[in-house]
Subunit: 270 residues, 2 copies
């Protein structure tokens, strides 16, 4: 898979057992599928459904899952929330509104921390999500250990369930992988320039500007030099970029670059 | 709005200017709508579209936005990415794969930190999202200041654009609001019990168990007492829960509660 050849090992180094996702009485197969895809994006695989309105299996769910077949194929269907969470050891109930239930309320990031800690010891955890229209009832929330809610805009708080699954899954993987991204700026391929080379670039540029009598009046030179050097310092130049800029300056001052000179010499030799 | 009466002020106290979201050549109106809804969930309002395949306005987008009409009504359409980002001061390009472009690569959390810092000073920032099928091309990525990618499972990395918009919007609001949740465990309504009341509960329970000769052999009493006390300590009981447990113990030891006794006395008076 050449496409994945550059993927960093850190992005795969996850040891915590991923949480289960339990959807309580979802109405639309599309939502089940989109939730499955969101889980797959972040390495979750255990999807459980309590009384799906349109039955199971669902072709709409499979289509919406967009090739997350490994999640769809393993879906378990239950006839009660109690049965769906029976083998789990710690359960979060997700809800978008305040409850009478006196239970700790966590953000998805805090919940992920707890889920990863437990998952690291092999404990089985799960996130319980409510119905599209009205979420979970208080008895269902009471079955959970803690409540998870999202830091939404209170005036537009209604989240699609697949979106809620996505944010919880994202936070879980971010925590479990210590935020390791699949790729980063490749410093081997783009090594940062050595200060020596950057200074030589500055001197080259400033020399060229001296010749072009750019610094006028001359007493402003130190200030302008600082301004210019600062611009290129901020750019955190790579070796390759320093070479490119040397070429730019040489070209603008219409001076022959070493490469051209060598080529010219080589041509005159032959 | 009684529904929102309990919303915490902290969840609304956001001073940073929210970033714009720029969708580059989206094909499906549904995706535009779902992206608009995700933005609205986290308080983003400035949606810009570059060459939407099916034109604009789009009824499909409005339906999928699920009442995020304030976002849909203000959508701006452009015929180039350059035009769409012209008034912005810092732009993130989102991409799911490594690029030749030597640009810093950030997670959505790091990007949010930068976007909020800039937004606090009133600077205009934006997140650029690519096409459903193949994202952004290298020229488009080069227009941005930094790259954002998500800590996905490298083996299932393909995110729906609305999902990518959601995660970036979520991280932005989380950072801008310092993670303030719309509601938390209401400690005014559920005040934690005073240690004095918890100790009285313990003594009540242990006294009842003494009478029932639960502690056998007696030398195991100290160990069992510690175990029981620890269970209830972990539960971080509220005042109300301590009262409920006192009632439970009284009921099990078949002793009259004070309330019943008073009622009985009152009845005998009349």
């Amino acid at each position: 898979m050449s496409k994945n050849a550059k993927i960093r090992d850190e992005a795969r180094a996850i040891t915590a057992k991923p949480p289960a996702v339990i959807l309580c009485e979802p109405q639309l197969g599309e939502n089940i599928g989109t939730a499955a895809r969101a889980m797959a994006n972040f390495g979750l695989v255990d999807l459980r459904i309590v009384n799906p309105r349109d039955g199971w299996p669902s072709e709409k769910a499979r289509a919406a899952a967009s090739r997350a077949d490994h999640v769809i194929d393993k879906v378990q269907v239950f006839d009660s929330v109690e049965a769906a969470i029976a083998d789990l050891q710690f359960v979060f109930a997700t809800t978008a509104r305040s409850r009478e239930v006196p239970k700790p309320v966590r953000g998805p990031d805090e919940a992920a921390k707890k889920a990863v800690e437990l998952g690291e010891t092999g404990s089985a955890t799960g996130y319980l999500f409510g119905r599209e229209r009205w979420g979970l009832n208080n008895e269902e929330v009471a079955l959970a250990d803690e409540i998870v809610t999202l830091p939404v805009d209170p005036d537009f708080a209604s989240l699609n369930i697949a979106q809620a699954v996505l944010v919880c899954s994202y936070e879980w993987r971010k925590t479990a992988s210590s935020g390791a991204l699949p790729f980063i700026l490749d410093e081997e391929e783009h090594p940062p320039a050595k200060k020596e080379d950057v200074l030589r670039l500055f001197e080259h540029l400033e020399g060229a500007l001296d010749k072009a009598t750019f610094f006028r009046p001359p007493e402003r030179r130190p200030h302008m030099v600082r301004t210019l050097r600062n611009i290129f310092q901020k750019a955190e130049l790579t070796e390759q970029e320093v070479r490119a800029l040397r070429g730019v300056v040489a070209s603008l001052e219409k001076r022959e670059t070493r490469a051209r000179k060598e080529k010219a010499e080589k041509n005159s030799d032959s």
